[in-house]
Subunit: 125 residues, 2 copies
């Protein structure tokens, strides 16, 4: 069991964000201690890990919320959930390829700068 501060440190997410996610239904309702303070347990941290993976790969919070709704509906939605993950994965892969092309563009620009730095202005095509 972990306090909100511990989870904040483990995940590098501000406590305010953790509360926000719970309020929005992106995390399940977290258990509390006698004083009403949140205590996170393992399955909730597992869950948070997947949320972070989806978020950091560009899934919107709205879509994550939709996915969470399916999780709440139980095993009948397994196939649908797999499909969502698959499509998101393909999406991420497309974006990564785009990024690689953009990096090429940036590399070429750097190469131009290198040529200019060595006073080779005249040899540019």
């Amino acid at each position: 069991m972990f306090t909100i501060k511990e989870v904040q440190e483990k995940f590098g997410l501000p406590a305010s964000t953790l509360r926000f996610y719970e309020k929005e239904g992106i995390l399940p309702p977290i258990g509390r201690d006698s004083g009403g303070r949140r205590l996170y347990s393992e399955p909730e941290l597992e869950w948070l890990q997947l949320v972070v993976a989806l978020r950091d790969t560009g899934m919107t919070m709205d879509h994550i919320k939709n996915y969470v709704e399916l999780v709440k509906q139980g095993d009948e939605t397994l196939h649908q959930r797999r499909q969502i993950l698959l499509e998101h994965k393909q999406d991420v892969e497309r974006k990564m390829n785009q990024t690689l092309e953009h990096l090429e563009k940036i590399n070429r620009k750097m190469a131009v700068y290198d040529l200019l730095a060595h006073g080779k202005k005249d040899f540019l095509i």
Copy 2:
């Protein structure tokens, strides 16, 4: 020379965004025809291409603007500009590695769904 509509189609960027970028100084002031309408020429499109590459790889508009300021200052800032591109590139590469790790997480989740789908619940560790 290209009208704003042509650039919009070439780049998939709304005309409003092109005007916005110019207003913000992210694009240089674009030439106009007799009627005051924008006419984009090759170097401006080249420039737009780099802006899009930087933006789509996660550079903020503020940082792009800073970079543009350096370009405007001429060749004395060549080294600084190269450095900015280099650091950005390294940043993008770090993020791509993070993304690959996140994809692994998503893959593992999909594998779990596959096991569950085939009723192999009992064989999960």
